[in-house]
Symmetry: C3
Subunit: 464 residues, 3 copies
């Protein structure tokens, strides 16, 4: 009995499945390169056991609790947002009795993988075995095998990037380095709190940036210098990439005088909402300029309408599963940045989307032309078996494979990392298997591509 079938996610057709199996076999043991995600450096700095199953699998995973919430389970029942969970076993039972809701979702695949591969559980989770699951997981979490560093090694991770505010001291990253532990955990420079005037605490953040860098961050020049300094510090700490989570992909290329004037208005709080969007757009171009100088690659994650549920946001704050994608335009939005830096061969900008209509219409044509552009893997809701397949089907014919950058697990859930990479490898094997079965590629090429998609392209694009 098993939760996982060895042929899962491979096409049913035997001819194609056989090829997919061989391709997968060649890549399944490759190390995990994780260039973008949201795990915590603190876990590895402190190397303490993960707490109970609920803190591990339910509370931090908005994929999980958004589904339960959509079906009438309250966040109170799940004790979401609480520091200490009063009755984790009860929350776990609620989760278990609703586990059938995840049929057909990637969450189901990821969780089953963790249950079986990490905890040896092989019976499908349900109301009836909720306690067995709880006890099994809880007990194992207290063993040395489940300490963060042990898991990191067991997962065969080659490099793991966190995502960090420029205001972060990176003390945890320093502690990891100082510990002499032989692992590569690197920060990512995510300046949203400092470049998005609508970010909560924006002005405080600007002030803190000034303190941290001894620059006058309330002047345009000082602000830019301060950001450049923090980038430099991040770079010294191993960082190779920045990340930008903007509402849209808008970029701007104001002249220096206009940009400085806009910054002044932004700081004074006299800018209109439309100007705040222009400011964010200008900052993408400024970041591109700095990237050309310091070599950090850029990631742009646009198109999420954050905190769509006003009541939930008021009560629980951000990241409550209520971020909803919106239509996203790239072709006009990126033009100012591309007019300035689009032809730079030593700049890398990785584009992500939540709007699949743009894969074949805008993103593949853009990445198939501009030297600086690459396509990130399917993001968030589209980080799924069908989603990945659609990405390959729609982007490959125009952008090719080599304008993509491998897989991002993009996860907050450390234990899901191997599962997510496993899904990506299987889908790539399935897609390439079909290419071979339909004689678009020969198998030796597919073999080479399988390795490139798993480790080659990501190492190159992210300079790892």
């Amino acid at each position: 009995m098993a939760l996982l079938h060895e042929d899962r996610l491979f096409p049913a057709d035997e001819r194609t499945r056989a090829i997919a199996r061989r391709l997968y076999e060649s890549i399944k043991g490759l190390p995990i390169v994780s260039p973008h995600g949201h795990t915590q450096a603190r876990w590895f700095a402190q190397n303490e056991p993960f707490p109970d199953p609920v803190k591990l699998f339910v509370q931090p995973d908005h994929y999980v609790f958004r589904m339960l919430y959509s079906q009438g389970v309250t966040l109170e029942e799940l004790e979401i947002g609480k520091q200490e969970i009063d009755d984790p076993r009860k929350v776990w039972r609620t989760f278990a009795s609703h586990y059938y809701l995840f049929r057909g979702t990637p969450t189901r695949l990821w969780l089953d993988y963790a249950f079986q591969e990490l905890f040896g559980l092989t019976e499908r989770l349900s109301e009836s075995n909720a306690d067995l699951y709880y006890d099994t997981i809880a007990a194992q979490l207290q063993t040395p095998d489940f300490l963060p560093r042990t898991l990191y090694e067991r997962f065969n991770i080659e490099v793991l990037a966190t995502t960090d505010s420029p205001l972060d001291s990176l003390a945890d990253h320093e502690a990891i380095r100082a510990s002499g532990w032989n692992a590569r955990i690197i920060p990512t420079f995510r300046p949203d709190p400092l470049v998005d005037p609508q970010h909560p605490g924006f002005l405080d953040n600007i002030r803190a940036l000034g303190t941290l860098t001894s620059e006058d961050t309330f002047t345009w020049r000082g602000y830019l210098r301060a950001l450049a300094r923090r980038r430099e510090y991040f770079r010294q700490m191993g960082c190779t990439a920045t990340d930008h989570g903007h509402p849209t992909a808008l970029t701007e290329d104001l002249g220096d005088t206009s940009a400085a004037a806009l910054f002044e208005q932004v700081i004074k709080g006299t800018a209109y909402a439309a100007d705040l969007e222009i400011f964010r757009g200008q900052m993408l171009t400024e970041m591109a300029r700095m990237s050309l100088e310091d070599g950090l690659i850029m990631q742009i994650h646009p198109g999420s309408v954050r905190n769509h549920n006003a009541q939930l946001y008021a009560k629980y704050g951000r990241d409550m599963g209520a971020d909803i994608p919106a239509p996203t335009n790239y072709v006009e939005a990126l033009r100012p940045l591309l007019n300035r830096f689009g032809n730079e061969r030593h700049l890398t900008i990785i584009l992500f989307t939540l709007d699949e209509a743009t894969y074949s219409r805008e993103l593949a044509p853009l990445a198939g032309h501009y030297p600086c552009l690459k396509l990130g893997p399917p993001w968030w809701f589209h980080d799924s078996a069908e989603g990945m397949m659609r990405f390959r089907e729609r982007a490959t014919e125009t952008a090719g494979f080599y304008n993509t950058v491998g897989f991002n697990d993009d996860t907050r859930a450390f234990l899901s990392i191997p599962a997510r990479h496993d899904v990506a490898r299987r889908i790539d094997a399935a897609f390439l298997g079909r290419q071979v079965a339909e004689h678009k590629l020969e198998e030796d090429e597919a073999m080479e591509l399988a390795t490139d998609l798993t480790v080659g392209l990501v190492r190159k694009a992210y300079k790892l």
Copy 2:
């Protein structure tokens, strides 16, 4: 010889097909639950024979005549819009000689099903057998086996919802009940003629509503009370749902004073076109508020540009096959309503779309979060084999199966009901079969899901 193959719509791969067959076998005999459609209660109240084949298959079916029209057959040749058909046999011959146009369309599947399963015809319709078809169908229509009530029973219908104006007396529904016939035919409350100021006869409708309810419907309060009264009457007549066919999904949440002022302008005819759209949006939120009170579930069908062909509309009026989908936004449009009622667990709003780009981008993320939202099945042009498959492929990974509500036949063509449900069951079996073949689900789960998708979810969502 047969028009229908027993394996139709199942994937060709034998491994998957075998699973799909087993799943289909388990659901093909389940009763038909039809919670949304456009059949006429009068048919069942009067229980008279359907007239000739043309009145049955050609004249009322805009899928049929729009295709013929697109290929140069005139509406005059088809005698569309005429009460009495001069030469039905000639119209039928025109239809028959163009039957090849429907290759690859759902209309072909639906018609072949009716031809074979209801009339015993097994030779493909063409010019050469047009008369045979005509005579066979015409003769059988006059037999007791083809009376509406007999067909209802033969189709194994559990419940059938019609769609009705709030001004409808529901006399036919009353007559059915009074007849003692053991069937469940229920009305649906569709207030478009009373909430859309651009509906023909809007003011007359408001006046008629006043007469019907003894409310002063030219005041905001009286208008709302009158609508609530008609909802209550519909509810007493078995209605469980409302339906809203708006140009967009826009909702508004004006304060009461602003809403009353807007209503006054609308009634006076002094509102701008943009304000009429705001009024429609406000009325969606008012309807949601009433639904919370009276328990009727809401259906929203936005995004159709009605009567796109101005010449045809001038000559023939509505529903001439010239309604064309437009891009539809949900994420911003629904925000006002969701801000107010989105977290209500006892409200159900079923969203439909004609813009497939929204399945994975907006609809699945919204339904996978908000407790009040569910996704309706593929609608209209997308109520087709490929369309249903795309819906499952794009919506399931984010919304799961349990935020969907089974199938709607949504038909004006009574005889197509079994065919349409059969297509839906086969495609669900095909989709689930692939999930099992690719080891995303186990077969026992797929079996349970097959029944849920066929009868379970629809009964629950529509409170049937």
Copy 3:
């Protein structure tokens, strides 16, 4: 050893593949009907050998050099834009060493076809055999077998349409006719340089049109008469179609007085940018009006943002692989034209798109209703195996097969014509094969459709 597998592009499932093979077998030998493309009449008028491999395969093919450029190869290295190539062998080596970039793209399929079928090369192109390829191709190009007319005959072309400015004298077309060579090479009337005020040299073009036609083209009446005259001349030279490459699908139907006033502003250069768009829209409707009179069919190719890369455009001009698709609306944009001429059964307007989201949402519903509308095949980035399959999957259920018009190769690369038609035939066979395997069609119908999709529909739609 071979570059091409005889089953390429057929579904892997054996049941489906066997049907696809039979369908393909029935159409693979049919003549090529090429109603829209960008080959040069001059080639056939002069019938001189094509120059070296680089001039043939690299320099004119923006699919090729955009991919190389996107991966950091400079246009200088490729000697793009130069009349004489200094070191074609070196350019060829650069191309060969990057040939792996085309894995998974249609370019790879097209090139491999030409390499094997025309030049007898059977080893995959790479850095190591670059010289072998170069020498083999260069040598054969000098043989009589590779003269343009010989290739035309060898390709079994029934008719080949070029694309021409109304200002073109069509001297090359005349020379072909005068030569007595038995081939059908016909012009297409593409008036963009004369109806798009933002086209470089617009006013000069208007002036030249006046000279050519002896009309006062600086008056609205004279301008329209001059265009009608050139249409008539093209028609006499065998032209059956016009083509319109507009930024959007916008149409207008101004009254004659307004149109004349707008034309005056356009000519004076006092029109706003928005008015220029209106003018283009008006001209689509004027062209439709003329088409009704002279019988030329219309093709509309909207939605490409031309010359997106400003630096490249400044340095190299148009057609540098930097045209990027944008979201395109049809349902509102076409309304003015359709309100006027939509119901004309003797008008044919063929719609193309770069925005695949419109296939099922707008284009298939429009073409499945309006008698004048037909759907062109997948265009440009979507002229690919997956792209064609998506088109059939999304458009067929609503528009049917008979509102489509077969395949356009749309190529500048003469040698790619057989390869492109071969891909289209294989994908149609694959799509129809699946329809048969899933019992949506019977095989005799699929056989008939295969021929219709290959030659029947194109001959009829383009009046060839």
